[in-house]
């Protein structure tokens, strides 16, 4: 028998994952975005334990109109005398939480629908994709307006609404991946060995589609933060007194002329966070799909 001696063994190549991590680390904007997001996450989770105020505690010295920035209230107070920095941090909890969970729902939903559609093709595909088209063509705002007249907005409901409105891009992407990967020879080989549908989908196709899915998931975080903020700003999302970056912006808009320090921080937070998420998504795309 021909035996290739161990000395001729190919050198251990880097695992694909290791290469992707190395590529990601070379991507400066993505690393910057990641650092920003991690910092923001830590602040939002842990800072409330160190803040002297609660998000709805009032300082009656500053009631009636917004208080200026001072040593006690770094970012000033709103017209009800509540500390703006405290509300910003608590608002970040809600906004980031809704953004993250909305993206999770969107990714799970989009992946499931896209996977079934691309794997089974035929009638299933047609039905699911036309449903996706319908969802894409529904204008978000009127739908949300309608829903908010039936349900009192709650964080859980909002997460569901956000996730339920942004999964379509992921579904199309995953479908395309499944259509392409199901024809791969290693999938055929598994089929020739008698592997069934679920095994083919979860063991052979899905792991090889993880790259594009994680990019889509990351970008979905940005989209859902934007959507949550937009809805809260318009008063259809999380309702005061619970702060979110969106409804803080809404509350501050009335005082824009005399107290711009109330509007700028939440706006900047939304802007920078979404930008950072998109940079990270960009970096992930470059790291996981180097050919594109």
């Amino acid at each position: 028998m021909v035996d290739i001696s161990p000395s001729l063994a190919p050198p251990r190549a880097r695992r694909p994952l290791g290469q992707a991590v190395a590529r990601f680390r070379r991507h400066r904007m993505a690393m910057g975005g990641l650092v920003f997001l991690v910092a923001m996450g830590l602040i939002v989770v842990f800072a409330p334990f160190f803040l002297p105020y609660t998000y709805d505690g009032q300082d009656f010295n500053f009631i009636g109109s917004p208080g200026a920035m001072s040593a006690q209230h770094w970012l000033g107070t709103d017209e009800l005398g509540r500390d703006a920095l405290t509300r910003l941090v608590y608002g970040g909890r809600v906004s980031l939480g809704v953004g993250l969970l909305g993206a999770v729902i969107s990714t799970v939903l989009g992946t499931a629908i896209g996977a079934v559609s691309g794997f089974y093709r035929g009638l299933v595909d047609i039905v699911l994709m036309r449903f996706t088209d319908v969802m894409l063509s529904i204008p978000t705002l009127p739908l949300v307006l309608l829903l908010s007249t039936f349900f009192r907005p709650s964080p859980v409901l909002l997460i569901g609404i956000v996730g339920g409105l942004i999964w379509m891009g992921t579904a199309r992407l995953v479908r395309a991946q499944f259509l392409a990967l199901r024809e791969r020879e290693y999938v055929e080989a598994a089929r020739a060995l008698g592997a069934g549908g679920a095994r083919l989908m979860f063991r052979h196709i899905l792991p090889n589609a993880v790259g594009p899915i994680s990019v889509a998931a990351t970008l979905a975080v940005g989209t859902s933060i934007m959507m949550e903020s937009g809805l809260s700003f318009l008063g259809f999302g999380i309702l005061p007194p619970v702060p979110t970056w969106g409804n803080l912006l809404n509350a501050a808009s009335a005082w824009l002329g005399i107290a711009p320090w109330l509007a700028i921080p939440p706006g900047l937070c939304i802007f920078c966070t979404v930008l950072a998420v998109n940079f990270v998504g960009e970096g992930l795309r470059d790291a996981l799909e180097p050919r594109l």
């Binding site: 028998m1 021909v2 190919p10 251990r12 694909p16 080989a189 060995l193 008698g194 592997a195 792991p207």
Partner: protein, 335 residues
């Protein structure tokens, strides 16, 4: 090799009998997606493969040879016709029955880069084949995988490596090991060496030849390269545009090809002999569209000897010698 088995055309025991097999891929068009036209990838072909026989299947790109292999394993559903494997009609089995049969028939793919899941180690890839068919206990499987690797000339130390750590030839060996894992009787080798370097091609072919003899495998060896097929096959089937043009024992086919298409293919085989004077039969143009093949003999649009009479009937395979069949109305003019 090539083995000139006695009565190669009529093998003692038939393992696989394909009769009147058709595979048409409908092309949907029109407002409601009704099938308007169809690509006739396989258009009414019949052949037998005897137990222990290696049959070569050759033809240009687009002749339908890969579809034949895939349809036999039911990776593609046939449009009509029968595929009898050991007396059982493969095309009529339920998915559960088919699953049990899959242990008996396996496939080796063309592209070693694509035929292994990049996220699985060799242990996982081959282990899955064993697990799917409940071969061995958990503890026995490792030894079995190492055996298989050694059988295809790889070291058992490689068991926990990923496909990208191997060369193309090594990956093809792993693909062969995976196919052999379930101890099949029949293997479809779909252009197993076309993607490899010439020097590696020879190694892999030798390995396959060695394995077929040692394990008494029956094989359908698909290739577009006649020289490769000559080496390994007992019999050769020549396909063109979804139809069989010629079937002959390899020695006969290479010494005396009869069908004009086979002759053209043969004249394109490079010979490592500078004194060899070849009669080049050059084919003009490309293979016609299988959506709208020429009437009568499908080869007539490119055939150097075609006449107006070839446009009439589709020529049937006609026996012209011991196990030698050719589908040409001028079979006897060019003997």
């Amino acid at each position: 090799m090539p083995i000139d088995a006695p009565g190669a055309g009529a093998p003692s025991e038939t393992l696989l009998r394909v009769s009147n097999l058709k595979k048409h891929f409908p092309i949907r068009g029109g407002l409601f997606g009704q099938p308007a036209v169809a690509v006739k990838a396989i258009d009414d072909i019949s052949f037998d493969i005897g137990r222990g026989e290696v049959v070569g299947l050759v033809g240009e790109s687009g002749s339908g040879k890969t579809t034949v292999g895939r349809t036999i394993l039911r990776l593609t559903e046939p449009t009509s016709g029968q595929i009898l494997f050991d007396g059982q009609d493969i095309a009529a089995l339920t998915p559960q029955q088919m699953r049990a049969q899959r242990k008996r028939m396996q496939i080796v793919f063309q592209d070693p880069d694509a035929s292994l899941n990049p996220r699985e180690t060799i242990r996982q890839a081959i282990g899955r084949a064993l697990r799917l068919h409940n071969i061995g206990t958990r503890g026995e499987r490792e030894g079995r995988i190492v055996d298989l690797l050694e059988q295809v000339g790889l070291s058992g130390d490689y068991i926990d490596r990923y496909p990208h750590e191997f060369s193309g030839g090594q990956r093809q060996r792993i693909g062969i090991a995976r196919a052999l894992a379930v101890e099949p009787e029949f293997i479809v080798a779909d252009e197993p060496v076309s993607a490899l370097d010439v020097s590696v091609q020879a190694q892999v072919i030798n390995l396959m030849e060695d394995l077929t003899q040692r394990l008494n495998l029956t094989m359908l060896f698909i290739a577009h390269d006649l020289a490769v097929v000559e080496h390994i096959s007992n019999r050769v089937i020549v396909m063109y545009l979804g139809k069989i043009m010629e079937i002959a024992p390899s020695s006969t086919l290479y010494a005396a090809p009869r069908h004009p298409y086979t002759r053209a293919l043969m004249s394109a085989v490079p010979r490592p002999d500078p004194t060899f004077k070849r009669q080049r039969v050059l084919l003009q143009g490309d293979i016609p569209s299988p959506i709208n093949p020429p009437s009568g003999c499908v080869f007539r649009s490119r055939c150097p000897v075609a006449g107006p009479e070839c446009a009439g009937n589709v020529p049937a395979l006609e026996q012209i010698g011991e196990g030698h069949f050719s589908a040409c109305i001028k079979n006897h003019e060019f003997a």
